[in-house]
Every structure is written in structure tokens, then in C-alpha cells.
């Protein structure tokens, strides 16, 4: 504006020389075209001034408005900084209490640019000094290549990475990698499974839930299994020591919640550490609980009795003559604990009489036996979230001999899991619940009814009698009202049975007045010891395992010890003569 005003001011004040050529001032100001020009300039100037004034007015008005108005809350949502999520390619697996059973952790892989290495031999020598598992010869060969980008080793620990960095060789580079870690090691390996070097599930739940675990959308949501790591450990520990004491070649054990079908613990021995799967034998990988099928022996009598009682063929007041061995189809059936007399139904179960059970099965009939066993889920592979599931073995043509032998658990091979699932349905009021490895937060499931609640009550009484008066006395964990059934079967070999190779098992249920858990223990080819007087049957070797497991885990599972109500078993106890 100053510059403009100087042009309209007197020429004497003008700093622009060329305009003031002479003293003729009026001619300079007064000439008509000049005046017109001045007018236009002034009107333009006024226009600009008005414009500026209007703009200042708007700004002033806005300032007043802002100062009068209440301060609005700042919109921070748009500036929200998102924390980058911790992303891994595979979801964690937790146990039922949230203990981490499997997790992915970041590691590094070592790569090299051979073209940048001047002295491959020295580089190889240095590298082997910090990573001794690498072969120097191989390394020299790899590092001598003229080009490329080669991987030297996967899964370096932070310490190893630091050591390689400290070598100061610029040709070595690291790439982020992931490693599947199982903090509990061998614990629950058969339920959990393992992964291969590409972090893909190759067994157990890792394989069954492969899609769910590796789905990018759900890697932040851990998979929660029904396994309880504390119970799992107690079962594994007891089975391991029993296996050692009795020099068994293998062992299996299950703890199942009878009201939900959840598998609380599942042990198969020998096992392996999923963190290092190299050199693991097939025997170690074999899941004896779900894959292995065994003739389980007398444990099966539970199903025969349940079928006979449910069908109304027998009642507690009935009985069978077991004084003499029985002949069926060329076979002679004897009792392992012969009483040589007439036995009542509770006695047949408590003393595990093969003859009595066989006669009962004949009264029941082949068709009914098949129907019941099929209802109990014993004639098909058990349901569980694992790939390693073994189908049962039973005769294609079910003859009279089969009816007889199957009634006491010979001539039919089922997996321990199928047996435990069946036993759970016997004691929980007659509901068959498929076994599951996934935690059920509701604590109750409605299953298919397979026997009447009243039959289930009778089976509970019978199972308790086996422990208080019969063959399962060594499973009596004082205070926890354990019931159960022993099972001893000879292993089949060369078309016959090997009398020395036994499968000894015990299935226990507790507390018998309100069944909560089934505990099953099996030992493969146990040898008797001095303490067992050379016996290696289920009642001697497997029942103590069940007892110890119950003593160790019942407090953890919230089952309180209690003085028993003898009245519950009075009716059955009276029918058992010692």
C-alpha cells in the first residue's frame, strides 16, 4: 500500500525518476487518461480493501464464536495408534486351566551370500566353532558357490545368533523364523501331537486341528484342550513307575469326566518329546489309548452284566452254577478265581467268574449281546478329535463260542478309549457321551441313552463291591469310594494265547455314590514281583496305579473324601458270600 500511495502522491516525493520529466505538475495529474486510470486503480483498491475487511471480519467473528462456544471434545479416534498384534502362523494350544502346552516362538534362520565370502574355508571353520552341529566339509562346499542365497541352519537360539554375529562375517544374514515349542515336553504328547519342520501338524490334536490352528484369522485364539496337565502328570508318573517295577513293555492310561466325556488325561508309554522328533521310533509314536486295540478281558463283564440286567434276563437275586468248568464248542471255560459253587449275580461280577458270565451271555442271546455292545460304542472306532484311532476287532461271524468268549472280554479287541467311554456310560446314568479332547465349559452333556438309570445304579453298586469285596481291593483309595473292575487277558500269539504275556488292566470310577471320573490303567506284559507274589494280573499291577492316581488327583479335581454311606450297597453286599 505504501508503494501505491507514493505513486499518487506529489511527484516531488516520487522516487521513480523517469515519470517526473519536468516541472509541469498539473499536466501530470490533470491529463484525462491518467485521471481515468487513477479512478480505476482506486476502485480496484477499494474492492481489495473491502475483501480483506470482510475476511478479517469473518475471522474475528469466528474467533469470538470459538471463544464463546464450549470446547468440543477432541476427536482422538482418528489419530488412534494401533499396536501391531503379535502375529504367529500357528495358534497356541492350552490345557483346560490355561497352561501353555504348545506355542510358537520367534527364532532366526541363518542364511549366507557365498559371493560375498572371500575365504570360504576360514568362514566355515569359524562358523563350525559356534555351531558345532554343522559339518565343515559341507559348509566349505556350500560357501564356495559363486552366487545365490543359501540357508545354512534353521532355528537358531538367541545365544547362537549372537555368537554368529560376533564372528563379524558380513555374508551371513538372519531371517525371522518360528519354532513350535512344547514347554511341558513329553507330557500329553499323544493327545497333543507334534509338528514337522514346516510347522505342520503330523500327529495328535496338532494334525486333527491343523486347519483351525494354522488359519490366519484365528491364530490369536488359543485352542483349549480338555487335558489337565496336573492330572496328566500324575497318571504318567504312576504308570511310568508301575511300568518300571513290573518291567512292562508298555502302558496306557486315561482319566475321563463321566458327565461330559472330556478326556482329562491320556497317557501312552513309551512316549517321546515333541520338541525333538528326530529318531523317534514307531513304538513311541504309537498311541496305545486310541490306536491300540486289546483283548481287555474281565473288564468286559461290566457290559455283559449291564446288558443282562437292562434286558431283564437276570436280577441281583439270580445266580448261576459255577462249580464245574463249562464246555462250549470244544473250548473249556474256567474261572481264574474259582469258588466251585453256585454264584449269585453280584458274586459273579465281584469274583470275576467267567463261567457265570458266559452262562448269562447265553441267556441274553447273541443278537441282544451284539445290539448292546453296539449301543455302548464298542463295535466301532471311538469318537475323538484325533486321527490315530483304532477300529475294534471282532469276529465277522458271531457264533455261540464268540458270544461266550466276548462276554468276558476275549475274542474282541477294543481300544482303551472305547472301553473307558463305554464304562462312563455305564455309571453316569446310562448316557453314552462321545469322548472329546476339547474343554466343555458347561460341565454336562446330554448323550444317547444306552441303559436305564436303574441299571446304571446297579452297575455302580457292583463296581463298588469289586473293590470292597472282590478282586479290585488294591484300588481302594480310602475316602474316595472307588469302584471298578479288574481285567487280565492273555495276549494272542500264533493262533493261541501266550499264558505269560498278559494285558493287565483296571478301570476305576470314583466317587461311586456320585460318579465323576473314570480312571483306567493298562500294563502291557507286566512281570510279577516279590511284592505281588509273582502275580501280574490287573488286580495286582494296575489297580494300585488307579488308586495312587485317584489319591493324587481327587483333591485337584475337587472331589472331597467322605465317609461312605454303607446303606447304598447293603442290598448287594448281602448277596456276596466271602
Amino acid at each position: 500500500m505504501n508503494a501505491l500511495s507514493t505513486t499518487v502522491g506529489p511527484p516531488a516525493m516520487s522516487r521513480r525518476g523517469p515519470v517526473s520529466t519536468g516541472p509541469n505538475i498539473p499536466s501530470l495529474v490533470g491529463s484525462e487518461p491518467q485521471q481515468r486510470g487513477m479512478g480505476i486503480a482506486r476502485s480496484r483498491l477499494v474492492f481489495v480493501v473491502i475483501l480483506f475487511c470482510a475476511a478479517f471480519f469473518v475471522m474475528a467473528a469466528r474467533t469470538v464464536e470459538l471463544s464463546l462456544k464450549k470446547a468440543e471434545p477432541m476427536q482422538v479416534t482418528k489419530q488412534h495408534v494401533t499396536v501391531p498384534p503379535v502375529q504367529f502362523t500357528r495358534a497356541d494350544i492350552l490345557d483346560r486351566n490355561g497352561e501353555v502346552l504348545a506355542t510358537n516362538l520367534g527364532t532366526s534362520s541363518l542364511y549366507a551370500y557365498p559371493a560375498r565370502i572371500r575365504d570360504p574355508e576360514e568362514a566355515a571353520r569359524k562358523l563350525v566353532s559356534v555351531l558345532p552341529n554343522l559339518s565343515e566339509g559341507h559348509l566349505i562346499q556350500k560357501l564356495s558357490a559363486s552366487k545365490g542365497y543359501i540357508r545354512l541352519q534353521q532355528r537358531l537360539s538367541p545365544r547362537q545368533k549372537w555368537a554368529v554375529n560376533a564372528l563379524g562375517i558380513p555374508a551371513f544374514e538372519f531371517a525371522p523364523d518360528e519354532e513350535r515349542i512344547y514347554p511341558h515336553g513329553r507330557l500329553a504328547v499323544h493327545a497333543l501331537g507334534a509338528v514337522n519342520y514346516k510347522n505342520e501338524g503330523i500327529s495328535g490334536a496338532e494334525r486333527y486341528f491343523e486347519r483351525r490352528l494354522s488359519d490366519a484369522a484365528s491364530t490369536n485364539q488359543a485352542l483349549r484342550l480338555s487335558i489337565d496337565s496336573r492330572v496328566q502328570y500324575a497318571l504318567a508318573d504312576e504308570l511310568e513307575s508301575a511300568m518300571r517295577v513290573f518291567q512292562a513293555i508298555g502302558a496306557a492310561g486315561v482319566v475321563m469326566d463321566v458327565n461330559t466325556g472330556e478326556v482329562i488325561a491320556m497317557v501312552s508309554l513309551p512316549d517321546f518329546d515333541p520338541n525333538t522328533t528326530r529318531g523317534v521310533s514307531g513304538n513311541q509314536r504309537f498311541n496305545r489309548v486310541t490306536q491300540g486295540v486289546y483283548e481287555l478281558g474281565s473288564v468286559f463283564k461290566t457290559f455283559t452284566l449291564a446288558a443282562a440286567l437292562d434286558d431283564g434276563v437276570v436280577d441281583f437275586s439270580d445266580g448261576y452254577d459255577a462249580s464245574l468248568p463249562m464246555k462250549v464248542g470244544g473250548y473249556t471255560i474256567r474261572d481264574d478265581h474259582p469258588k466251585g459253587r453256585y454264584l449269585t449275580v453280584p458274586e459273579i461280577y465281584a469274583y470275576s467268574s467267567n463261567i457265570g458270565t458266559a452262562r448269562m451271555a447265553l441267556d441274553l442271546g447273541t443278537e441282544q449281546q451284539q445290539r448292546y455292545l453296539s449301543d455302548f460304542g464298542l463295535l466301532r472306532a471311538p469318537d475323538i478329535e484325533l486321527v490315530e484311532v483304532g477300529a475294534p476287532l471282532f469276529p465277522a461271524r458271531w457264533r455261540k463260542t464268540s458270544t461266550v468268549t466276548i462276554s468276558y472280554g476275549h475274542g474282541i479287541s477294543v481300544s482303551p478309549l472305547a472301553l473307558v467311554t463305554g464304562i462312563a456310560s455305564m455309571v453316569n446314568g446310562g448316557r453314552l457321551l462321545p469322548a472329546t479332547l476339547i474343554r466343555n465349559s458347561e460341565g454336562w452333556r446330554q448323550g444317547k441313552r444306552v441303559i436305564a438309570p436303574d441299571t446304571s445304579r446297579k452297575i455302580r453298586q457292583l463296581m463298588r463291591m469289586v473293590v470292597t469285596k472282590g478282586t479290585g481291593g488294591r484300588a481302594d483309595a480310602v475316602g474316595y469310594r472307588v469302584g471298578g473292575k479288574t481285567g487280565t487277558a492273555e495276549k494272542a500269539s500264533n493262533g493261541g494265547y501266550d499264558r505269560k504275556a498278559l494285558i493287565s488292566s483296571f478301570v476305576g470310577v470314583y466317587p461311586m455314590d456320585d460318579p465323576q471320573y473314570v480312571v483306567f490303567a493298562l500294563l502291557d506284559e507286566p512281570k510279577g514281583t516279590k511284592a505281588t507274589y509273582g502275580f501280574s494280573s490287573g488286580g495286582w499291577v494296575a489297580a494300585p496305579v488307579v488308586k495312587n492316581v485317584i489319591l493324587r488327583t481327587a483333591p485337584l479335581l475337587g472331589v472331597a473324601p467322605k465317609t461312605e454311606d454303607e446303606g447304598l450297597y447293603k442290598n448287594v453286599a448281602l448277596r456276596i458270600e466271602e
Binding site: P84, E99, V100, I181, P183, H184, V478, P555
Partner: protein
């Protein structure tokens, strides 16, 4: 007058400019702090993941059993040691010389004789 207006306007303009600049710098600082915090949270979460795995490794039932056997005089729990109902808890002995001098115990010291107990205070309350 004009000059004053001009100069003050210029000063106001420069001052507001400086203030805006300072504000800008402050906002940038805060934003960078924000990003740093976000990264730190991310790193911490990652560390928590590793630590929880390590914690699980160090507290496996087997390790705990070994450690308790090594350092604690604790034995496995027995069924008869578990108290079901509060009624089975024994009453606290009072007024007897049940406690040795100097030993620390939950039982009241023998100095606390019944005669010292106030009348309205119940004797032998359960723990």
C-alpha cells in the same frame, strides 16, 4: 499509526507462526512417542509370550515335584488330611500350656490365660 498497526500485525503474524510451529513440533513429538509406545507394547507382548512359555517350562508338575522334594519338607496330601466340613476343625486350645516359649505358632501363647479373657468374649472359638 499505520506503522504501529503494520508492525504489530507483523509481530502477531510471526508470533502465531512460531506458536503453530511449536505446536506442530509438539504434536510430532507426541505422535512419535505414541508410535514408540505402540512398538514397546508390541515388544512387551512378544516378551510376555516368551516368558509365559518359559514360566510353563519352569513350572511343569514334574519340576515342581522335584523342587518341593528338594527344598520343602512337604509330603503328598492324604485323604484323611482333607477337612470336609468346618465342624471337624478342632477348637483352639486356650489357657493351657500348649505352646513352648519362644516358638512361633498359631496357637495362643500360654500367657493368655482364661482369667484374662473378658467376660463377653466367647471361650474356645473355632479358628
Amino acid at each position: 499509526m499505520r506503522k504501529i498497526v503494520t508492525i504489530s500485525a507483523a509481530i502477531a503474524a510471526i508470533m502465531s507462526g512460531v506458536m503453530v510451529l511449536l505446536l506442530n513440533i509438539a504434536v510430532q513429538e507426541q505422535a512419535s512417542l505414541n508410535r514408540t509406545l505402540a512398538k514397546q507394547i508390541h515388544d512387551d507382548r512378544e516378551a510376555i509370550r516368551i516368558l509365559s512359555a518359559e514360566w510353563n517350562y519352569l513350572t511343569t508338575p514334574r519340576t515342581l515335584e522335584d523342587r518341593s522334594g528338594q527344598f520343602l519338607a512337604l509330603m503328598p496330601l492324604r485323604a484323611k488330611q482333607i477337612v470336609n466340613t468346618p465342624a471337624t476343625i478342632p477348637l483352639r486350645p486356650r489357657g493351657q500350656d500348649v505352646d513352648t516359649k519362644g516358638a512361633s505358632s498359631v496357637v495362643l501363647s500360654s500367657a493368655d490365660k482364661p482369667r484374662k479373657v473378658k467376660k463377653n468374649q466367647r471361650k474356645g472359638t473355632a479358628l
